[in-house]
């Protein structure tokens, strides 16, 4: 389980910082974070992954306090990140990308179960990652993170830039990861339909702070509660 209490983080200059964030993410649950561009969503997931300096607050991963941990130590402890618009190693093949995920998680590779879950990637195993389509690259980014065998997955805008039919399949995959594999997902997402479908809890972020939190079912009944923060 991941718990953050009063987490404040951000670069000294530049990108929006996040302030006094309280959140809890358990195995088998989906916590969604929504907000306008620049609200601090990417800073939040990057900070949880150890990629943005933390200033104050407490963060626990399982029993361990992980403030000040380096990103590779956090990842090795079971928290995997699929960053926005990327998440693959350019110039390396599909198989090499997955092998790196396995190496990062101290796991053996090849992993038959992983290939079985992503047959399209198996067909393209020797192709460089940067020659894949946008949807395939998203699959590879998620598969690379899964190759680490994480307990929790941080997904930053996974549906961004992929066609609607693939978003549908992405939703099925993420639901399977939660229900079958028991993973906990922290999902930063602009697509409210995907959020309604998956989320147990929704945090609304604005100017780096949480301004509302509601259950996933509440969002389905009263979408205007979130939409007004998104300017929709």
């Amino acid at each position: 389980m991941l718990v953050a209490i009063g987490l404040t983080a951000g670069w000294q200059r530049g990108a929006a910082a996040i302030r006094a964030i309280d959140l809890e993410l358990a195995a088998g649950r989906v916590l969604a974070v929504v907000g306008r561009n620049g609200a601090g969503k990417t800073t939040l997931v990057s900070a949880l992954a150890g990629l943005v300096p933390w200033r104050t607050g407490i963060v626990r991963l399982g029993e361990a306090r992980i403030e000040g941990w380096r990103p590779e130590r956090i990842a090795a402890a079971g928290l995997a990140l699929v960053p926005q618009g990327g998440g693959v190693f350019p110039g390396l093949t599909v198989a090499e990308n997955l092998a790196l995920g396995a190496a990062g998680g101290r796991r053996p590779f090849p992993d038959r179960a992983l290939w079985a879950r992503f047959p399209a990637l198996l067909e393209r195993r020797d192709r460089p990652a940067d020659t894949l389509s946008g949807g395939e690259r998203r699959q590879l980014a998620i598969a690379r993170a899964l190759a680490m065998r994480p307990r929790l997955l941080l997904l930053d805008e996974p549906s961004e830039g992929i066609q609607p039919s693939l978003v549908e399949r992405l939703g099925e995959l993420l639901a399977e990861l939660v229900q079958v594999d028991g993973l906990g997902l922290l999902l930063v997402e602009q697509d409210l339909d995907l959020v309604v479908r998956l989320a147990d809890e929704v945090l609304v972020l604005q100017d780096g702070a949480i301004v509302d939190r509601l259950a996933g079912a509440e969002l389905a009944d009263r979408p205007e509660r979130v939409e007004r923060h998104l300017g929709l």
């Binding site: 990629l51 995997a80 995920g101």
Partner: protein, 287 residues
């Protein structure tokens, strides 16, 4: 007209020059080409390798013990250099340049203090010759060429065929993602730098019997080695093979048909043009 019997030997000399340059440039291809660290101490590390074999031989342990000790000792020096200095400043190229230049000077002056400023010689472990095209050729030069090829082959195998090499390539491809994937990037940085330094030590040790060694000899190695890495048509050790062939081959050819001074001039003039093109290509790659 019968072929000039000196041409096969000239070609062998050129190959020897290219492969010696390759051996020196290979370490730079790892620390500079892969990691992007402008390591001006590389020449000093080559000198340290040469003096290691000299000191071990003088201590009565023989050339082969020195050849084994040099890459290990210089690799260890590289490891300490990376952990104490380079790690803290490697994202600031100008600082790295100045700091490693300073380390190079410190190595040079330490050698002056310990061994004196005069030049020394290291006797080759064998002085046999091989008959090639009616002439005799020193077998030790062939051995140096074989070491250069073996070191290049081993480095390529390490990078392209092992899990460790894959982790290094992943870190080079996207450092931030590598960290978020759980790769031990600090240990990989330190190990890669130590390996590149060890190659510099090996280069200094194995080429020591081919020349007289002195504390300033690293400067002569550094410029052509940097050029070989910079003009490499593509990144990594394989590109450096081509870069060393281009720089070393041009130098050898012009030396043979004109003079060594003309060779230096041609290489430097060519380097200015190629660096202009290479700079554009590097910027393009980074974008």
């Amino acid at each position: 007209m019968a072929a000039d019997p000196s041409w096969p030997l000239l070609l062998l000399d050129a190959a020897s020059h290219v492969l010696t340059l390759l051996l020196v440039a290979l370490g730079l291809a790892v620390t500079f080409g892969l990691m992007g660290v402008i390591n001006l101490a590389h020449g000093g590390l080559v000198v340290l390798g040469a003096y290691t074999v000299f000191a071990v031989e003088r201590a009565g342990l023989g050339f082969w013990a020195g050849l084994l000790a040099a890459p290990l000792l210089v690799g260890l020096v590289g490891l300490v250099l990376q952990i104490l200095i380079v790690r803290r400043i490697q994202h600031r190229p100008l600082d790295t340049l100045v700091a490693t230049w300073g380390v190079g000077l410190a190595i040079e002056q330490t050698i002056v203090l310990v061994f004196g400023a005069a030049s020394h010689t290291v006797a080759p472990p064998f002085t046999t010759t091989v008959a090639i095209a009616g002439s005799s050729y020193p077998a030790y030069r062939l051995f140096v060429m074989a070491v250069a090829l073996a070191a290049t082959g081993f480095t390529l195998w390490l990078l392209l065929r092992t899990r460790l090499g894959l982790m290094v390539r992943g870190t080079v491809a996207d450092r931030r993602l590598a960290a978020a994937t759980g790769l031990p990037i600090r240990r990989l940085d330190a190990g890669t730098f130590a390996y590149g330094s060890g190659l510099a030590g090996l280069a200094g040790a194995v080429t020591a019997p081919l020349m007289s060694i002195d504390p300033q000899m690293g400067t002569g190695f550094l410029l052509p080695a940097f050029l070989a890495v910079l003009v490499a048509p593509f990144a990594g050790p394989l590109g450096t093979v081509a870069g060393a062939g281009l720089v070393g081959g041009t130098e050898s050819f012009v030396s043979a048909v004109a003079s060594p001074v003309a060779a230096q001039l041609v290489v430097l003039a060519g380097a200015v043009v190629l660096l202009r093109l290479a700079a554009g290509r590097r910027v393009g790659r980074e974008r």
